[in-house]
């Protein structure tokens, strides 16, 4: 097996608003569609943001609560349901789609790398079972895209395929904020059930420092997928590079 070359965008210390983060992920997708080179980007959200799935109804959001708590609201290009960012580390992977793309195969491929990264933090995660259509809150249900520790979800992911490339991004839970999705999603949701369905690295006794976790994720991708990363700034990674 030949070592693959990927581009790595380390955006942990780069500030963007929520819309800017989604634009950066889409720029990564366009670049991979143009040149066929896979990319991995790692980033955080400050201020916190609630991201909605591509087709999630607007009225799932309690806009007043988001305003009061200083939470930005953004729509993802990917599927799934509402996810609160701020206490997480987010990854974005872009891959060439190939002539016969398969959603689950991509999830499984990336999950192997994420599991290897979490293992470096002492966390043994498994690919979540499929529970069928989700409710309004992403983390409250597990689907084939997700990673769990025991029965509790530690990482949720979603995809979009456009043209000849796939973007998969997802959220690794580092620690809980003072509020959660149940404070931000309209219609009333069960906070205890959400907490019972999820687990953070902090609760697992694993490192939560974003730099430490990011380094473990990068190392996990490199070892599990046999990759050689070239570190590039976002501006270059979002521009088609050939050769």
């Amino acid at each position: 097996m030949t070592t693959q070359r990927w581009l790595l965008v380390d955006d942990l210390d780069r500030s963007r608003d929520a819309a800017g983060q989604m634009a950066a992920d889409l720029a990564l997708l366009d670049a991979t569609a143009a040149d066929g080179t896979p990319r991995l980007r790692l980033y955080r959200w400050d201020p916190p943001a609630l991201s909605l799935g591509r087709f999630q109804p607007d009225d799932d959001v309690d806009v007043d609560a988001c305003t009061r708590l200083g939470v930005q609201v953004v729509r993802r290009p990917t599927g799934g349901r509402a996810l609160l960012h701020g206490g997480d580390l987010t990854y974005a992977v872009t891959l060439p789609a190939g002539p016969a793309p398969n959603v689950d195969a991509t999830y499984t491929y990336v999950a192997g790398a994420l599991r290897a990264g979490l293992a470096r933090l002492g966390v043994t995660a498994e690919i979540a079972r499929h529970e069928g259509p989700a409710g309004a809150v992403c983390m409250a249900t597990q689907q084939g895209a997700d990673l769990r520790v025991g029965a509790r979800k530690v990482c949720g992911s979603a995809q979009v395929q456009r043209g000849s490339a796939v973007l998969q991004h997802g959220s690794i839970l580092l620690e809980r904020l003072a509020f959660d999705e149940t404070d931000l999603v309209a219609g009333g949701h069960d906070r205890a059930a959400l907490h019972a369905a999820t687990v953070t690295l902090a609760e697992l006794g694993a490192p939560t420092d974003p730099r430490t976790v990011a380094d473990a994720v990068v190392a996990g991708f490199a070892s599990a997928l046999d990759l050689d990363f070239t570190v590039v700034p976002t501006t270059l990674a979002s521009t088609s590079r050939r050769g």
């Binding site: 591509r54 016969a100 084939g144 895209a145 995809q159 043209g163």
Partner: protein, 126 residues
């Protein structure tokens, strides 16, 4: 995997059933299997002009969003609004009740660029 002989296929995994100058379009059995359980279909509006190879609908499955492309150019003259309530028909009956839209073709010659069943099978099975 099912590849009906009487249909044309695009390399983006749509099928086309031709009736005169009209083309009924859906996604293939391979595509529905690769997508997983479909939970939402964003349909084009009737009257929309489409260009072969252009995006004209989207499908969500298992937290994944995928574009659906127009295999031929023309105008959308009918859409399967039943998919609003039962998007899972794309999985259960991709060549029948899971059809997505009908195009009134402006250039039926574009059909010649599509694959036959054997060509499509070769694309997805290698």
């Amino acid at each position: 995997m099912d590849y009906p002989e009487d249909l044309k296929y695009s390399s983006e995994h749509e099928w086309v059933a031709v009736d005169g100058t009209r083309a009924r379009v859906g996604i293939t059995d391979y595509a529905q299997d690769a997508l997983g359980d479909v939970v939402f279909v964003s349909l084009p509006a009737s009257g929309t002009a489409v260009t072969a190879g252009g995006t004209c609908a989207e499908v969500e499955s298992t937290k994944s969003v995928s574009d659906i492309y127009a295999p031929v150019s023309g105008t959308i003259v009918d859409v399967n609004t039943a998919l609003d309530d039962t998007p899972e028909q794309l999985n259960s009956d991709p060549y029948g009740s899971g059809w997505i839209f009908v195009v009134e073709m402006t250039d039926p010659g574009e059909l010649d660029a599509l694959l036959d069943a054997a060509g499509y099978r070769s694309l997805v099975e290698g």
